[in-house]
Amino acid sequence: MNEKPSMGKKDASGKEFINNLHILIKTALIHDSSNIAITTPLTKTMDSVHLLLAGRDSFSLRLIHDNLFINDTKIRVDIENFLASMFLTGEMKKNNTGKITFHLQLSANELRQFVYAFISPVSKAPTSNETFEDVLDKLSSYSIKNITIDRLQEETGSLGQPVRTTQEMAANIYFKTISVVSEIMDSTKLKNAANMTKAKRLIQSMVDLMLQDESTILGLTTLKAYDEYTYNHSVNVSILSLAMGQRLGYNRKELSDLGMATLFHDIGKIDMPVDLLNKPTDFTPEEWQIIRRHPVYGVKTLLKLKGLQERAIKMVMVSFEHHLNYDLSGYPKLLSPKRVSLFGRIASITDCYDALTSSRVYNRNPFLPDRALFFMMKKSGTAFDPTLLKIFINVVGIYPVGTLVLLSTNELGLVIQANPSPVNIHRPLIKLITDPKGNEIDGDTVDLSKHENITIKRSIDHRKYGVDVSKYFL
């Protein structure tokens, strides 16, 4: 517990360790132990092991209640490491392992042997006690002494509502949803119906949360991942769409359909080359041509989801329509006119907004939220349904949740909630994060509609300064 003061640094090295170990195990799953490909991840993992061992005899990676800990410090799941965390959690559970301890004398060779011992029993029935014994046997047969493992503690599964804050639940659902989307979209074929059911359950939880507390979950959309753009974007579009759907008064079923349909609006991208999607420079006209195929590819993929059921059809509609503008000027280019469904029109707004404000694909330098909204307002009635755009702005505000703003008082504030009244749309609720001299504070929440003398001077690009605003929502 007395380790807490140096938390920040350790947290960072813990995350790095998690990420490196994730890559190491994944590489080990593909290549055998003599393969050259294993060298770099092995070295990197050793480096981060050494960082964590600094001044200690050992440290442990622990799995407690689905959360990873380095010794007693919980690894905070964020956009950079959620996939690694989920993966390691899964691997440890498979082997019924609750604790892996790394000792000072550990060599790279031992680490390598350990990793292969750890991954090999996966063919056994998961989470049986045997798998843990198997790993133990392997470790002793290789005489690995500097990595030790402990069995996962049986958890007394208590029924009833889990006690969590809304923020924690929101973050938990958010990351789980990203993870499910990534599993579905990585598997290229939607053969795994179980994943779809997972996604459906998560969307149901998302709707529940949305009905309880819209702002918290909207705040999560300020998370913009740089590596997992498509997944992160999918979840954001789904959340923003659900918020709009709630304003429109959709019932629970309609909301869950809307959530699912928008979550998979870009599913057609599973047929696009990954290199293209993650290309660091602008697209050439030829590349654009390929990108523009994704709505139809999406239809093709979604059609395999069992014929004529309502939800599947709505998913097809959103995939096909989300780039068709209100005036049909988008893509795919149609030969005859078509009515774009409300779901499609909603998705085209939320998709555009999230894309403009994320630093992927559409623009290398993302727009600030208010700038993105100006851009979209200019296209009201052409690209976007004017009424739905108004509703969208009512949902996110002009300074959306998560925007860093400079106030007329020279204080810096963070928008934490849109003002519910459209009359005061430019006067959101702000959490003060610096004083007028620029000193960081854990300030009050100010409702600008009640303080007419305080105005927003402008929004500020938090990314330019490396400020992590999502931490206020996690």
Binding site: S158, Q204, S256, L303, L305, L308, I398, V423, G466
Partner: protein
């Protein structure tokens, strides 16, 4: 000591009785719940039995909840427990209520005070549904979630981990400090930039001066406080659209999208995939008798199977193959079964559908002519075949070898309907078919065909061993005035078997001879008419004379009259009489 002990055990015993009672009640309630799911499905809404079951359930729930506060059930794989006692157990995966919940991930269900009849009914509706039919869209958890019951709560394992959802204490979260130590630098840069802001683009300057409001007001040309309030008109318009969508036929919407894609999609893989989905939907429509939605789809597909209406011959061929998939025997068989089950078929639309199919449907439909139950529809199938096979008769011929005589008869009917001279060569092959009904149908068919070969085949049946076949042949010869058949008819008259025929057939034979009105018959008729009694019995002679007269009465050629006039001076009085009478009749007819 002893007192205390006694007191304690007494207390326990009482508690135990109470507990036993509760468990009994709970077990009874769950049993009733499990049974009513099945029974309620059987009885219609208005049935008094149904109402009785509902009342009973209602009462049991009310009683339990009043006494015990809430009903908290735990779900195991095949068992349901209450207060750690098993109160329901059924090891059948198909029937077990416990397994139904368990399989979906539900681990507990709790009913609380205030439970309403509507909730009970909805709950039963959920548990008695057949989920295997639409597993993708609806599972128990989803249905429970959608209903959002106020007094029925459930817990489930997290689908992801297949374990109970974890509890994380709030203090577990320790926010990271990374990336948050630089607010001072933000402040320094932004505040100083603000005071020195001059060289940016117009928009930024505008914004810098007055915030986002002015930019937005410039875009909308309205004060900001008015822009984002929805007008009554906008609200109504959007509600209108929501209502429209609620009543919308989603399958038609899907088809609309699929056809839009066919119009623009050249990539063959996708084109084919989309096409397959369209045809599958079309099949569903047709099998359910929904021609209203089905026919327009097939019409569009027909158009697209034409090269001129498509991107390339390859694409057109794909569409053609898609239409082929509607003509395969498997589908036509399904269609026939569905028609047999549903007697109310719009025959006009069924006819339109079938006649739009490709050639490959010919064999499938002809095989099904023996399976279809309604005569009306069988006729329709045959009429369809006559249209489809007009230029592809060879595709029908296989049916002529079918072991079921009725299939053969149907194909013969179709060949007659087509009426092409080419069919004769196929019909000839089966002219001695063992089934009289088939031979009779051949007679009808060849009557429809206008060729000498056809007429020859018709005459062939004059000597059939079945009288109804012979009669049909006669009638058709008469109708078509086929004089070439005269020698055959005369052969029958003078043949050995003539006497064995019944009176009706004999009469038909002579009448036909009369209708054919051929000079060739005159000398034979004269022989019969003027034959004297002697070797033959008198009665027989008279019978034959009457038949000959019958034939002559139908004739109008001068040779007939000449012969009769000659007879007026015959020495036999009875011959003179019959000639006179016949002549009179003919003259009257001619007037």
């Amino acid at each position: 000591m002893t007192d205390a002990k006694t007191e304690k055990s007494d207390y326990n015993a009482e508690d135990d009785i109470d507990r036993k009672d509760r468990i009994k009640l709970a077990a009874d309630l769950v049993q009733t719940l499990s049974k009513s799911g099945k029974t309620l499905k059987i009885y219609p809404e208005t049935s008094p039995v149904r109402q009785k079951i509902i009342d009973e359930l209602n009462e049991k729930f009310a009683k339990f909840l009043n006494q015990c506060g809430e009903l908290d059930l735990r779900i195991r794989q095949f068992e349901i427990t209450y207060n750690d006692e098993v109160i329901y157990s059924n090891p059948s995966k198909e029937e077990s209520l416990a397994f139904k919940f368990y399989g979906d991930g539900i681990r507990s269900i709790r009913f609380t005070v205030g439970l309403e009849e509507k909730e009970i009914l909805d709950f039963i509706g959920i548990i008695s549904r057949n989920y295997s039919l639409d597993a993708q869209d609806n599972d128990i958890i989803t249905m429970l979630w959608e209903k959002n019951f106020e007094n029925i709560h459930h817990t489930a394992v997290d689908y992801r981990e297949e374990r109970e959802i974890e509890t994380i204490a709030p203090e577990d979260y320790i926010p990271s400090e990374s990336g948050s130590g630089n607010l001072q630098s933000v402040f320094n840069a932004e505040v100083s930039k603000h005071t020195a802001d001059t060289g940016d683009d117009g928009e930024t300057t505008l914004q810098a001066a007055a915030g986002a409001e002015l930019v937005i007001e410039a875009i909308y040309k309205k004060p900001i406080s008015e822009i984002f309030i929805l007008t009554q008109e906008e609200i109504e318009q959007i509600q209108q659209e929501m209502e429209t969508e609620e009543g919308m036929d989603l399958v038609s919407e899907l088809l609309d999208i699929l056809f839009h894609i066919l119009q623009i999609e050249k990539e063959l893989d996708i084109y084919t995939e989309i096409l397959k989905n369209i045809t599958d939907t079309l099949k569903t429509f047709i099998l359910s008798g929904d021609y209203q939605r089905g026919l327009p789809i097939l019409t569009t597909l027909k158009a697209l199977s034409n090269e001129e209406n498509n991107f390339s011959p390859v694409h057109a061929q794909e569409v053609y193959s898609a239409i082929d998939s509607l003509g395969v025997e498997q589908f036509i068989r399904q269609l026939t079964t569905s028609i047999n089950m549903n007697k109310l078929i719009d025959t006009t639309q069924l006819f339109s559908f079938l006649t739009m199919l490709n050639k490959n449907a010919i064999e499938s439909i002809s095989n099904m002519t023996g399976t279809i139950e309604q005569i009306k529809i069988r006729r329709l199938y045959c009429d369809v075949l006559a249209l489809l096979a007009r230029d592809n008769m060879e595709l029908l011929i296989k049916g002529l070898e079918d072991s079921n005589w009725y299939v053969v008869r149907n194909i013969v009917y179709v060949l007659g309907k087509i009426g092409s001279a080419e069919a004769i060569k196929y019909l000839r092959r089966i002219k001695n078919h063992s089934e009289p009904k088939v031979r009779k149908e051949i007679v009808h068919a060849v009557s429809e065909i206008n060729s000498d070969d056809a007429k020859d085949l018709l005459s062939y049946y004059l000597d059939d061993k079945d009288s109804s076949v012979r009669l049909t042949a006669l009638q058709n010869i008469a109708i078509h005035g086929y004089r070439k058949a005269v020698p055959s008819i005369l052969n029958i008259i003078i043949g050995e078997n003539f006497d064995t025929k019944d009176a009706y057939e004999k009469k038909e034979i002579f009448e036909t001879l009369g209708i054919l009105n051929s000079p060739q018959s005159i000398s034979y008729l004269k022989d019969i008419l003027m034959k004297r009694a002697g070797f033959f019995s008198k009665a027989r002679i008279e019978e034959q004379r009457a038949y000959a007269a019958m034939a002559l009465k139908k004739m109008s050629i001068p040779e007939a009259k000449d012969m009769l006039k000659e007879g007026l001076s015959h020495p036999d009085k009875s011959i003179r009489n019959i000639c006179e009478e016949t002549l009179k009749y003919m003259e009257k007819e001619q007037k």
